[in-house]
Protein backbone atom coordinates (compact mmCIF):
# COMPACT_ATOMS: atom_id res chain seq x y z
CA UNK A 1 0.00 0.00 0.00
CA UNK A 2 1.40 3.39 -0.99
CA UNK A 3 1.82 5.80 1.87
CA UNK A 4 0.55 9.31 1.05
CA UNK A 5 3.26 11.89 1.05
CA UNK A 6 3.21 14.65 3.62
CA UNK A 7 1.37 17.77 2.58
CA UNK A 8 4.43 19.96 2.90
CA UNK A 9 8.20 19.86 2.81
CA UNK A 10 9.69 19.19 6.21
CA UNK A 11 12.76 21.32 6.81
CA UNK A 12 14.85 19.72 9.52
CA UNK A 13 16.90 22.88 10.16
CA UNK A 14 13.68 24.79 10.78
CA UNK A 15 12.62 22.03 13.13
CA UNK A 16 15.84 22.34 15.13
CA UNK A 17 15.37 26.07 15.51
CA UNK A 18 11.75 25.65 16.51
CA UNK A 19 12.60 23.04 19.14
CA UNK A 20 15.18 25.33 20.76
CA UNK A 21 12.56 28.06 20.80
CA UNK A 22 9.98 25.66 22.22
CA UNK A 23 12.31 24.62 25.03
CA UNK A 24 12.99 28.24 25.92
CA UNK A 25 9.29 29.02 25.89
CA UNK A 26 8.53 26.06 28.18
CA UNK A 27 11.29 27.22 30.51
CA UNK A 28 9.83 30.72 30.47
CA UNK A 29 6.43 29.40 31.51
CA UNK A 30 8.07 27.19 34.13
CA UNK A 31 8.95 30.37 35.99
CA UNK A 32 5.26 31.14 36.53
CA UNK A 33 4.41 27.82 38.20
CA UNK A 34 6.09 25.44 40.62
CA UNK A 35 5.78 22.41 38.39
CA UNK A 36 5.01 21.54 34.78
CA UNK A 37 6.43 18.14 33.83
CA UNK A 38 9.37 19.65 32.03
CA UNK A 39 11.40 16.43 31.58
CA UNK A 40 8.76 14.53 29.67
CA UNK A 41 7.88 17.56 27.57
CA UNK A 42 11.48 17.98 26.45
CA UNK A 43 11.85 14.30 25.61
CA UNK A 44 8.96 14.28 23.12
CA UNK A 45 9.45 17.73 21.55
CA UNK A 46 11.19 16.68 18.34
CA UNK A 47 8.59 13.98 17.72
CA UNK A 48 5.72 16.43 18.22
CA UNK A 49 7.39 18.96 15.96
CA UNK A 50 7.88 16.32 13.27
CA UNK A 51 4.27 15.21 13.52
CA UNK A 52 2.76 18.70 13.43
CA UNK A 53 5.12 20.34 10.94
CA UNK A 54 6.10 17.35 8.82
CA UNK A 55 3.57 14.54 8.88
CA UNK A 56 0.13 15.86 9.77
CA UNK A 57 -2.32 17.24 7.27
CA UNK A 58 -3.64 20.13 9.29
CA UNK A 59 -6.11 21.67 6.88
CA UNK A 60 -8.78 20.64 4.37
CA UNK A 61 -12.12 19.02 5.08
CA UNK A 62 -10.70 16.15 7.13
CA UNK A 63 -7.55 17.25 8.93
CA UNK A 64 -5.50 14.62 10.72
CA UNK A 65 -5.94 14.14 14.45
CA UNK A 66 -3.29 14.37 17.14
CA UNK A 67 -3.70 12.87 20.61
CA UNK A 68 -1.07 13.36 23.29
CA UNK A 69 -1.82 10.22 25.25
CA UNK A 70 1.06 11.00 27.62
CA UNK A 71 -0.94 14.02 28.68
CA UNK A 72 1.62 15.17 31.25
CA UNK A 73 3.80 16.22 28.31
CA UNK A 74 1.19 18.86 27.48
CA UNK A 75 3.65 21.79 27.51
CA UNK A 76 5.21 20.34 24.37
CA UNK A 77 1.82 20.41 22.67
CA UNK A 78 0.88 23.86 23.97
CA UNK A 79 3.99 25.52 22.57
CA UNK A 80 3.40 23.85 19.21
CA UNK A 81 -0.22 25.02 19.21
CA UNK A 82 0.96 28.52 20.10
CA UNK A 83 3.39 28.44 17.19
CA UNK A 84 0.53 27.43 14.91
CA UNK A 85 -1.66 30.24 16.22
CA UNK A 86 -4.24 27.79 17.61
CA UNK A 87 -3.47 28.85 21.17
CA UNK A 88 -2.53 32.43 21.95
CA UNK A 89 0.30 33.90 23.97
CA UNK A 90 -2.35 34.95 26.49
CA UNK A 91 -3.53 31.34 26.75
CA UNK A 92 -0.06 30.19 27.68
CA UNK A 93 0.40 33.09 30.09
CA UNK A 94 -2.56 31.72 32.04
CA UNK A 95 -1.20 28.16 32.16
CA UNK A 96 -2.61 26.51 35.29
CA UNK A 97 -4.00 29.85 36.46
CA UNK A 98 -7.57 30.91 37.32
CA UNK A 99 -9.35 32.13 34.20
CA UNK A 100 -7.02 30.16 31.94
CA UNK A 101 -8.01 27.29 29.69
CA UNK A 102 -4.88 25.16 29.62
CA UNK A 103 -3.28 23.30 32.49
CA UNK A 104 -1.28 20.23 33.38
CA UNK A 105 -3.21 17.86 31.15
CA UNK A 106 -4.85 18.40 27.74
CA UNK A 107 -8.57 19.09 28.06
CA UNK A 108 -11.01 18.14 25.30
CA UNK A 109 -12.71 21.21 23.91
CA UNK A 110 -9.69 23.49 24.23
CA UNK A 111 -8.62 24.64 20.75
CA UNK A 112 -6.25 22.09 19.26
CA UNK A 113 -6.93 19.46 21.93
CA UNK A 114 -8.81 16.48 20.54
CA UNK A 115 -8.99 14.29 23.64
CA UNK A 116 -8.74 14.69 27.40
CA UNK A 117 -5.73 12.78 28.60
CA UNK A 118 -3.63 12.76 31.73
CA UNK A 119 -4.75 9.43 33.05
CA UNK A 120 -2.34 7.13 31.24
CA UNK A 121 -3.51 4.47 28.83
CA UNK A 122 -6.54 6.23 27.35
CA UNK A 123 -5.29 7.83 24.15
CA UNK A 124 -4.73 4.75 22.05
CA UNK A 125 -8.21 3.35 22.69
CA UNK A 126 -9.85 6.62 21.68
CA UNK A 127 -7.58 6.81 18.64
CA UNK A 128 -8.78 3.36 17.60
CA UNK A 129 -12.36 4.57 17.66
CA UNK A 130 -11.53 7.62 15.55
CA UNK A 131 -9.52 5.57 13.08
CA UNK A 132 -12.33 3.01 12.82
CA UNK A 133 -14.94 5.72 12.19
CA UNK A 134 -12.77 7.21 9.43
CA UNK A 135 -12.15 3.81 7.87
CA UNK A 136 -15.84 2.90 7.83
CA UNK A 137 -16.76 6.32 6.43
CA UNK A 138 -14.01 6.07 3.79
CA UNK A 139 -12.35 9.26 4.97
CA UNK A 140 -8.66 9.67 4.18
CA UNK A 141 -7.27 10.83 7.49
CA UNK A 142 -4.62 9.75 9.95
CA UNK A 143 -4.70 9.65 13.71
CA UNK A 144 -1.40 10.33 15.47
CA UNK A 145 -0.89 9.28 19.08
CA UNK A 146 2.09 9.90 21.33
CA UNK A 147 2.54 7.61 24.34
CA UNK A 148 5.18 7.27 27.03
CA UNK A 149 7.08 4.20 28.13
CA UNK A 150 5.61 4.43 31.62
CA UNK A 151 2.18 4.58 30.01
CA UNK A 152 2.82 1.39 28.09
CA UNK A 153 2.72 -0.49 31.37
CA UNK A 154 -1.05 0.04 31.43
CA UNK A 155 -2.99 -3.05 30.41
CA UNK A 156 -5.38 -0.96 28.34
CA UNK A 157 -2.55 -0.03 25.98
CA UNK A 158 -1.94 -3.69 25.22
CA UNK A 159 -5.65 -4.31 24.73
CA UNK A 160 -5.59 -1.60 22.10
CA UNK A 161 -2.26 -2.77 20.65
CA UNK A 162 -3.77 -6.22 20.10
CA UNK A 163 -6.95 -4.81 18.63
CA UNK A 164 -5.65 -2.21 16.16
CA UNK A 165 -4.06 -4.63 13.67
CA UNK A 166 -7.11 -6.93 13.92
CA UNK A 167 -9.23 -3.99 12.77
CA UNK A 168 -6.67 -3.22 10.03
CA UNK A 169 -6.36 0.37 11.17
CA UNK A 170 -3.60 1.42 8.81
CA UNK A 171 -4.60 5.03 9.38
CA UNK A 172 -3.22 4.86 12.91
CA UNK A 173 0.32 6.05 13.60
CA UNK A 174 1.57 5.88 17.17
CA UNK A 175 4.77 7.19 18.73
CA UNK A 176 6.52 5.95 21.84
CA UNK A 177 8.59 8.45 23.78
CA UNK A 178 11.07 5.90 25.11
CA UNK A 179 12.96 8.06 27.58
CA UNK A 180 13.53 5.15 29.98
CA UNK A 181 12.17 7.08 32.94
CA UNK A 182 8.98 7.09 34.88
CA UNK A 183 8.02 8.92 38.06
CA UNK A 184 9.99 6.81 40.49
CA UNK A 185 13.01 5.90 38.45
CA UNK A 186 14.47 4.21 35.43
CA UNK A 187 12.08 2.01 33.49
CA UNK A 188 14.81 -0.46 32.51
CA UNK A 189 15.50 -1.04 36.21
CA UNK A 190 11.91 -1.01 37.48
CA UNK A 191 10.59 -3.27 34.72
CA UNK A 192 13.49 -4.74 32.76
CA UNK A 193 11.14 -7.10 30.96
CA UNK A 194 9.48 -4.14 29.29
CA UNK A 195 12.41 -4.32 26.89
CA UNK A 196 12.86 -4.96 24.05
CA UNK A 197 9.72 -3.01 23.18
CA UNK A 198 9.91 -3.40 19.44
CA UNK A 199 9.72 -7.19 19.56
CA UNK A 200 6.59 -7.05 21.68
CA UNK A 201 4.91 -4.53 19.44
CA UNK A 202 5.64 -6.42 16.24
CA UNK A 203 4.50 -9.64 17.94
CA UNK A 204 1.16 -7.88 18.43
CA UNK A 205 0.94 -7.30 14.69
CA UNK A 206 2.24 -3.76 14.34
CA UNK A 207 4.91 -2.46 12.04
CA UNK A 208 7.53 -0.63 14.10
CA UNK A 209 10.74 1.30 13.66
CA UNK A 210 13.13 2.51 16.31
CA UNK A 211 15.18 5.67 15.89
CA UNK A 212 16.73 8.47 17.90
CA UNK A 213 13.61 10.39 18.90
CA UNK A 214 15.49 13.68 18.95
CA UNK A 215 16.58 13.28 15.33
CA UNK A 216 13.64 14.82 13.48
CA UNK A 217 14.99 13.70 10.13
CA UNK A 218 15.17 10.09 11.30
CA UNK A 219 11.69 10.25 12.83
CA UNK A 220 10.25 11.75 9.68
CA UNK A 221 11.94 9.31 7.34
CA UNK A 222 11.01 6.27 9.43
CA UNK A 223 7.34 7.19 9.34
CA UNK A 224 7.41 8.04 5.65
CA UNK A 225 9.19 4.78 4.84
CA UNK A 226 6.62 2.58 6.58
CA UNK A 227 4.94 -0.10 4.53
CA UNK A 228 1.58 0.94 5.92
CA UNK A 229 -0.21 -2.39 5.68
CA UNK A 230 -0.76 -2.50 9.47
CA UNK A 231 -0.77 0.16 12.23
CA UNK A 232 2.63 1.74 12.72
CA UNK A 233 4.56 2.54 15.89
CA UNK A 234 7.59 4.79 15.84
CA UNK A 235 9.74 4.07 18.87
CA UNK A 236 11.77 7.17 19.61
CA UNK A 237 14.70 6.65 21.94
CA UNK A 238 14.78 9.88 23.87
CA UNK A 239 16.32 11.60 26.85
CA UNK A 240 14.13 12.87 29.63
CA UNK A 241 14.93 16.56 30.12
CA UNK A 242 16.73 16.67 26.75
CA UNK A 243 18.58 19.90 26.05
CA UNK A 244 19.40 21.04 29.57
CA UNK A 245 22.36 19.13 30.93
CA UNK A 246 21.40 19.13 34.59
CA UNK A 247 17.90 17.89 33.79
CA UNK A 248 18.86 15.00 31.54
CA UNK A 249 18.17 11.57 33.07
CA UNK A 250 17.38 13.13 36.48
CA UNK A 251 13.97 11.98 37.79
CA UNK A 252 13.41 15.16 39.82
CA UNK A 253 12.80 17.01 36.56
CA UNK A 254 9.81 14.83 35.80
CA UNK A 255 7.76 17.49 37.48
CA UNK A 256 9.43 20.50 39.13
CA UNK A 257 10.21 23.93 37.74
CA UNK A 258 13.78 25.26 37.74
CA UNK A 259 14.78 28.01 40.18
CA UNK A 260 15.61 31.45 38.67
CA UNK A 261 19.32 30.56 38.68
CA UNK A 262 18.69 27.18 37.11
CA UNK A 263 16.45 28.88 34.57
CA UNK A 264 19.26 31.22 33.50
CA UNK A 265 21.66 28.32 33.22
CA UNK A 266 19.21 26.42 31.04
CA UNK A 267 18.76 29.40 28.74
CA UNK A 268 22.52 29.79 28.38
CA UNK A 269 22.85 26.15 27.43
CA UNK A 270 20.10 26.39 24.85
CA UNK A 271 21.58 29.60 23.44
CA UNK A 272 24.93 27.91 23.31
CA UNK A 273 24.17 25.93 20.23
CA UNK A 274 22.66 22.78 18.87
CA UNK A 275 21.41 19.98 21.01
CA UNK A 276 23.99 17.35 21.63
Amino acid sequence: MAVPQAARRFDVEDSKHRCVRFRKRILEISQTVTALHIGGSFSCLEMLDTIYFGLMRRDGPSPDTFILSKGHGSMAQYVVLEELGILSRADLALYSKPGGRIATHPDYGTPGIEASTGSLGHGLGMALGMALADKVAGIDRHVYVVMSDGEMQEGSVWEAMMLAPSLKLTNLIAFLDLNDFQSLGQTSKILPNFYPVRDKVTAFGWEAAEVNGHDAQAVYQAVQARKGSVPFLLIGRTVKGKGVSYMEHVPMWHYRSPSPEEYQRALQELDGGELR
Binding site: G121, M130, M162
Partner: protein, 304 residues
Protein backbone atom coordinates in the same frame (compact mmCIF):
# COMPACT_ATOMS: atom_id res chain seq x y z
CA UNK B 1 -34.84 -7.76 26.99
CA UNK B 2 -31.58 -8.37 25.20
CA UNK B 3 -33.45 -9.53 22.11
CA UNK B 4 -35.70 -6.46 22.25
CA UNK B 5 -32.58 -4.34 22.51
CA UNK B 6 -31.01 -6.03 19.48
CA UNK B 7 -34.19 -5.69 17.43
CA UNK B 8 -34.58 -2.03 18.27
CA UNK B 9 -30.93 -1.24 17.61
CA UNK B 10 -31.14 -2.94 14.22
CA UNK B 11 -34.21 -0.88 13.31
CA UNK B 12 -32.48 2.37 14.27
CA UNK B 13 -29.24 1.34 12.56
CA UNK B 14 -31.09 0.83 9.28
CA UNK B 15 -32.00 4.50 9.28
CA UNK B 16 -28.97 5.92 11.04
CA UNK B 17 -25.46 5.12 9.77
CA UNK B 18 -23.98 6.73 12.92
CA UNK B 19 -24.99 3.73 15.02
CA UNK B 20 -22.23 1.26 15.91
CA UNK B 21 -22.26 -1.57 18.41
CA UNK B 22 -19.00 -2.46 20.10
CA UNK B 23 -19.17 -5.65 22.14
CA UNK B 24 -16.62 -7.25 24.44
CA UNK B 25 -17.18 -10.86 23.45
CA UNK B 26 -20.74 -10.91 24.80
CA UNK B 27 -23.59 -10.44 22.38
CA UNK B 28 -27.20 -11.55 21.94
CA UNK B 29 -26.14 -13.99 19.23
CA UNK B 30 -29.41 -14.78 17.50
CA UNK B 31 -31.12 -11.42 17.62
CA UNK B 32 -27.97 -9.49 16.74
CA UNK B 33 -27.32 -11.60 13.66
CA UNK B 34 -29.28 -9.33 11.36
CA UNK B 35 -27.30 -6.28 12.48
CA UNK B 36 -24.00 -8.16 12.06
CA UNK B 37 -24.95 -9.44 8.63
CA UNK B 38 -26.21 -6.19 7.20
CA UNK B 39 -23.77 -3.80 8.88
CA UNK B 40 -20.65 -5.85 9.52
CA UNK B 41 -18.45 -2.77 9.60
CA UNK B 42 -20.58 -1.28 12.39
CA UNK B 43 -20.50 -4.39 14.60
CA UNK B 44 -17.14 -4.80 16.30
CA UNK B 45 -16.14 -7.45 18.81
CA UNK B 46 -13.07 -6.07 20.57
CA UNK B 47 -12.56 -9.34 22.40
CA UNK B 48 -12.40 -9.53 26.17
CA UNK B 49 -11.11 -5.98 26.42
CA UNK B 50 -13.60 -3.71 28.11
CA UNK B 51 -11.31 -0.71 28.51
CA UNK B 52 -10.73 -0.64 24.78
CA UNK B 53 -14.45 -1.10 24.17
CA UNK B 54 -15.20 2.11 26.06
CA UNK B 55 -12.21 4.02 24.68
CA UNK B 56 -13.11 3.07 21.13
CA UNK B 57 -16.69 4.18 21.66
CA UNK B 58 -15.38 7.56 22.82
CA UNK B 59 -13.29 7.89 19.67
CA UNK B 60 -16.24 6.91 17.48
CA UNK B 61 -18.45 9.48 19.19
CA UNK B 62 -15.78 12.15 18.68
CA UNK B 63 -16.16 11.45 14.96
CA UNK B 64 -19.93 11.98 15.14
CA UNK B 65 -21.00 8.33 15.52
CA UNK B 66 -23.54 7.02 18.04
CA UNK B 67 -21.85 3.93 19.48
CA UNK B 68 -23.35 1.42 21.90
CA UNK B 69 -20.93 -0.53 24.11
CA UNK B 70 -22.38 -3.89 25.10
CA UNK B 71 -21.53 -6.60 27.58
CA UNK B 72 -22.59 -7.93 30.99
CA UNK B 73 -23.22 -4.99 33.32
CA UNK B 74 -20.36 -5.74 35.69
CA UNK B 75 -17.95 -5.75 32.76
CA UNK B 76 -19.43 -2.82 30.88
CA UNK B 77 -19.06 -0.34 33.76
CA UNK B 78 -17.16 -1.87 36.70
CA UNK B 79 -14.12 -3.16 34.87
CA UNK B 80 -13.60 -0.03 32.74
CA UNK B 81 -15.02 2.41 35.30
CA UNK B 82 -12.34 5.06 34.82
CA UNK B 83 -12.77 4.88 31.04
CA UNK B 84 -16.50 5.43 31.47
CA UNK B 85 -15.73 8.37 33.74
CA UNK B 86 -12.91 10.04 31.81
CA UNK B 87 -13.55 9.11 28.20
CA UNK B 88 -17.35 9.27 28.19
CA UNK B 89 -18.52 11.45 31.08
CA UNK B 90 -15.69 13.96 31.38
CA UNK B 91 -15.77 14.54 27.64
CA UNK B 92 -19.59 14.29 27.62
CA UNK B 93 -19.87 12.05 24.57
CA UNK B 94 -23.03 10.43 23.19
CA UNK B 95 -22.16 6.83 23.97
CA UNK B 96 -24.62 4.33 25.42
CA UNK B 97 -23.07 1.73 27.70
CA UNK B 98 -25.37 -1.26 27.80
CA UNK B 99 -25.23 -3.46 30.88
CA UNK B 100 -26.90 -6.82 30.45
CA UNK B 101 -27.94 -8.62 33.62
CA UNK B 102 -28.37 -5.54 35.80
CA UNK B 103 -29.06 -6.38 39.43
CA UNK B 104 -28.81 -10.07 40.25
CA UNK B 105 -30.17 -11.42 36.96
CA UNK B 106 -27.19 -13.77 36.65
CA UNK B 107 -28.40 -15.49 39.76
CA UNK B 108 -26.35 -18.65 39.40
CA UNK B 109 -23.13 -17.00 38.28
CA UNK B 110 -22.09 -15.65 41.66
CA UNK B 111 -21.35 -12.17 42.93
CA UNK B 112 -18.75 -11.51 40.26
CA UNK B 113 -21.64 -11.17 37.82
CA UNK B 114 -24.05 -9.17 39.99
CA UNK B 115 -24.47 -5.46 39.26
CA UNK B 116 -26.22 -4.49 42.47
CA UNK B 117 -24.41 -1.14 43.00
CA UNK B 118 -24.38 0.02 39.38
CA UNK B 119 -26.97 2.79 39.70
CA UNK B 120 -25.18 4.28 42.69
CA UNK B 121 -21.90 4.30 40.77
CA UNK B 122 -23.31 5.72 37.56
CA UNK B 123 -25.44 8.27 39.44
CA UNK B 124 -22.28 9.72 40.94
CA UNK B 125 -20.79 10.53 37.53
CA UNK B 126 -21.44 14.02 36.13
CA UNK B 127 -23.07 14.02 32.67
CA UNK B 128 -24.12 10.37 32.94
CA UNK B 129 -27.76 9.43 32.42
CA UNK B 130 -29.25 6.11 33.52
CA UNK B 131 -32.14 4.27 31.92
CA UNK B 132 -33.43 0.97 33.29
CA UNK B 133 -36.47 -0.30 31.37
CA UNK B 134 -38.77 -2.85 32.95
CA UNK B 135 -39.64 -5.09 30.02
CA UNK B 136 -38.86 -5.77 26.35
CA UNK B 137 -41.34 -3.19 25.09
CA UNK B 138 -39.94 -0.42 27.31
CA UNK B 139 -36.44 -1.50 26.25
CA UNK B 140 -37.27 -0.77 22.60
CA UNK B 141 -38.46 2.72 23.49
CA UNK B 142 -35.42 3.29 25.68
CA UNK B 143 -33.04 2.45 22.83
CA UNK B 144 -34.58 5.27 20.81
CA UNK B 145 -34.05 7.68 23.69
CA UNK B 146 -30.40 6.60 23.91
CA UNK B 147 -29.87 7.20 20.19
CA UNK B 148 -31.35 10.69 20.50
CA UNK B 149 -29.60 11.64 23.74
CA UNK B 150 -26.61 13.92 23.39
CA UNK B 151 -24.46 12.54 26.21
CA UNK B 152 -23.43 9.28 27.85
CA UNK B 153 -26.13 6.85 28.98
CA UNK B 154 -25.95 3.71 31.07
CA UNK B 155 -28.69 1.45 29.72
CA UNK B 156 -29.35 -1.14 32.41
CA UNK B 157 -31.11 -4.17 31.01
CA UNK B 158 -32.27 -7.49 32.41
CA UNK B 159 -31.46 -10.65 30.58
CA UNK B 160 -34.02 -12.73 28.70
CA UNK B 161 -37.57 -13.90 29.16
CA UNK B 162 -38.92 -10.88 31.04
CA UNK B 163 -42.73 -10.63 30.87
CA UNK B 164 -44.48 -7.81 29.03
CA UNK B 165 -45.56 -5.34 31.71
CA UNK B 166 -46.31 -2.28 29.62
CA UNK B 167 -48.74 -3.44 26.92
CA UNK B 168 -51.52 -1.60 28.76
CA UNK B 169 -49.42 1.27 30.10
CA UNK B 170 -51.36 4.48 30.59
CA UNK B 171 -48.44 6.65 29.55
CA UNK B 172 -45.72 6.22 26.94
CA UNK B 173 -42.05 5.91 27.85
CA UNK B 174 -40.46 9.32 28.05
CA UNK B 175 -36.80 9.90 28.87
CA UNK B 176 -36.54 11.58 32.27
CA UNK B 177 -40.16 10.93 33.28
CA UNK B 178 -42.01 8.59 35.59
CA UNK B 179 -44.43 6.35 33.77
CA UNK B 180 -47.88 5.35 34.95
CA UNK B 181 -48.56 1.73 34.09
CA UNK B 182 -51.66 1.17 36.19
CA UNK B 183 -53.89 3.74 37.85
CA UNK B 184 -54.87 3.68 41.51
CA UNK B 185 -55.60 6.14 44.29
CA UNK B 186 -54.47 4.82 47.69
CA UNK B 187 -51.06 3.24 47.29
CA UNK B 188 -48.41 3.84 44.64
CA UNK B 189 -45.89 1.11 43.93
CA UNK B 190 -42.85 2.57 42.25
CA UNK B 191 -40.26 0.37 40.61
CA UNK B 192 -37.96 -0.03 37.61
CA UNK B 193 -36.36 -2.89 35.76
CA UNK B 194 -37.68 -6.47 35.76
CA UNK B 195 -38.57 -6.24 39.45
CA UNK B 196 -41.58 -4.18 38.36
CA UNK B 197 -43.24 -7.60 37.91
CA UNK B 198 -43.11 -7.99 41.68
CA UNK B 199 -44.83 -4.62 42.11
CA UNK B 200 -47.71 -5.82 39.93
CA UNK B 201 -48.08 -8.98 42.03
CA UNK B 202 -48.21 -6.98 45.25
CA UNK B 203 -50.71 -4.58 43.65
CA UNK B 204 -52.98 -7.47 42.68
CA UNK B 205 -53.01 -8.82 46.23
CA UNK B 206 -53.76 -5.42 47.72
CA UNK B 207 -56.51 -4.76 45.18
CA UNK B 208 -58.12 -8.08 46.02
CA UNK B 209 -58.67 -6.58 49.45
CA UNK B 210 -60.24 -3.41 48.09
CA UNK B 211 -57.20 -1.17 48.10
CA UNK B 212 -56.72 1.01 45.00
CA UNK B 213 -53.10 0.67 43.86
CA UNK B 214 -51.17 2.52 41.17
CA UNK B 215 -48.04 1.03 39.59
CA UNK B 216 -45.44 3.34 38.14
CA UNK B 217 -42.00 2.81 36.72
CA UNK B 218 -39.09 5.15 37.06
CA UNK B 219 -37.17 4.04 33.97
CA UNK B 220 -34.85 7.05 34.03
CA UNK B 221 -32.80 6.93 37.22
CA UNK B 222 -30.77 9.94 36.19
CA UNK B 223 -31.88 12.61 35.59
CA UNK B 224 -34.53 11.72 38.11
CA UNK B 225 -38.06 13.01 37.52
CA UNK B 226 -38.06 14.96 40.79
CA UNK B 227 -41.20 16.92 39.97
CA UNK B 228 -43.07 13.74 39.11
CA UNK B 229 -41.84 12.05 42.28
CA UNK B 230 -42.90 14.98 44.46
CA UNK B 231 -46.36 14.82 42.88
CA UNK B 232 -46.51 11.10 43.71
CA UNK B 233 -45.43 11.76 47.31
CA UNK B 234 -48.24 14.34 47.63
CA UNK B 235 -50.95 12.35 45.92
CA UNK B 236 -50.82 8.94 47.63
CA UNK B 237 -51.08 8.15 51.32
CA UNK B 238 -48.62 5.30 50.86
CA UNK B 239 -45.71 5.22 48.45
CA UNK B 240 -43.64 2.05 48.09
CA UNK B 241 -40.33 1.78 46.26
CA UNK B 242 -39.30 -1.67 45.07
CA UNK B 243 -35.91 -1.96 43.40
CA UNK B 244 -33.31 -4.51 42.36
CA UNK B 245 -30.40 -2.46 43.63
CA UNK B 246 -28.44 -2.04 46.83
CA UNK B 247 -30.06 0.02 49.55
CA UNK B 248 -27.06 2.33 49.14
CA UNK B 249 -27.46 4.88 46.40
CA UNK B 250 -30.41 3.53 44.43
CA UNK B 251 -33.89 4.94 43.88
CA UNK B 252 -35.07 4.28 47.42
CA UNK B 253 -32.67 6.65 49.16
CA UNK B 254 -33.26 9.30 46.53
CA UNK B 255 -37.02 9.14 47.05
CA UNK B 256 -36.46 9.36 50.81
CA UNK B 257 -34.32 12.45 50.32
CA UNK B 258 -36.97 14.00 48.09
CA UNK B 259 -39.66 13.19 50.62
CA UNK B 260 -37.70 15.03 53.28
CA UNK B 261 -36.90 17.99 51.06
CA UNK B 262 -40.47 18.32 49.82
CA UNK B 263 -42.00 17.94 53.28
CA UNK B 264 -43.96 14.86 52.25
CA UNK B 265 -46.40 13.50 54.80
CA UNK B 266 -47.19 10.17 53.13
CA UNK B 267 -46.10 6.82 54.44
CA UNK B 268 -42.97 5.75 52.55
CA UNK B 269 -41.76 2.16 52.46
CA UNK B 270 -38.74 1.06 50.47
CA UNK B 271 -37.50 -2.37 49.40
CA UNK B 272 -33.99 -2.73 48.03
CA UNK B 273 -31.32 -5.39 47.78
CA UNK B 274 -29.27 -5.79 50.92
CA UNK B 275 -25.89 -4.11 51.19
CA UNK B 276 -24.33 -7.57 51.08
CA UNK B 277 -22.79 -10.19 48.86
CA UNK B 278 -25.05 -13.18 49.24
CA UNK B 279 -23.50 -16.52 48.37
CA UNK B 280 -26.65 -18.10 47.05
CA UNK B 281 -27.43 -19.77 43.74
CA UNK B 282 -30.89 -20.16 42.29
CA UNK B 283 -33.37 -18.39 40.07
CA UNK B 284 -33.45 -14.61 39.93
CA UNK B 285 -36.69 -14.74 41.95
CA UNK B 286 -35.07 -16.90 44.58
CA UNK B 287 -32.14 -14.50 44.72
CA UNK B 288 -34.53 -11.61 45.27
CA UNK B 289 -36.00 -13.67 48.09
CA UNK B 290 -32.59 -14.09 49.69
CA UNK B 291 -32.42 -10.31 49.76
CA UNK B 292 -35.82 -10.23 51.45
CA UNK B 293 -37.69 -9.14 48.36
CA UNK B 294 -40.76 -11.30 47.80
CA UNK B 295 -44.34 -10.33 47.04
CA UNK B 296 -45.25 -11.76 50.45
CA UNK B 297 -42.72 -9.67 52.32
CA UNK B 298 -43.67 -6.48 50.53
CA UNK B 299 -47.39 -7.13 50.92
CA UNK B 300 -47.00 -7.94 54.60
CA UNK B 301 -45.11 -4.77 55.40
CA UNK B 302 -47.56 -2.58 53.47
CA UNK B 303 -50.48 -4.19 55.33
CA UNK B 304 -48.77 -3.79 58.70
Amino acid sequence: MRDAFARALYQFAKQDPRIFIIVADISPAGSMAQFRTEFPERFVNVGVAEQSMIGMCAGLAMRGCRPFAYTIATFSIYRPFEYVRDDLCYQNLPVTVVGIGGGVAYSTLGGTHHAQEDIAMMSALPNMSIVAPCDPRETEAAVGACVRHGGPVYLRLGKAGEPDLTANALEPFQFGKLRLLKEGSDVCLLSYGPMTALAFEVAARLEAEGCSVAVMTCPTLKPLDTEGLVRVLRRFHTVVVVEEHSERGGLAVQVKALAWESGASCRLETFSLKDAFIHFFGTQRQMWGEHGLTADAIYTRIRA
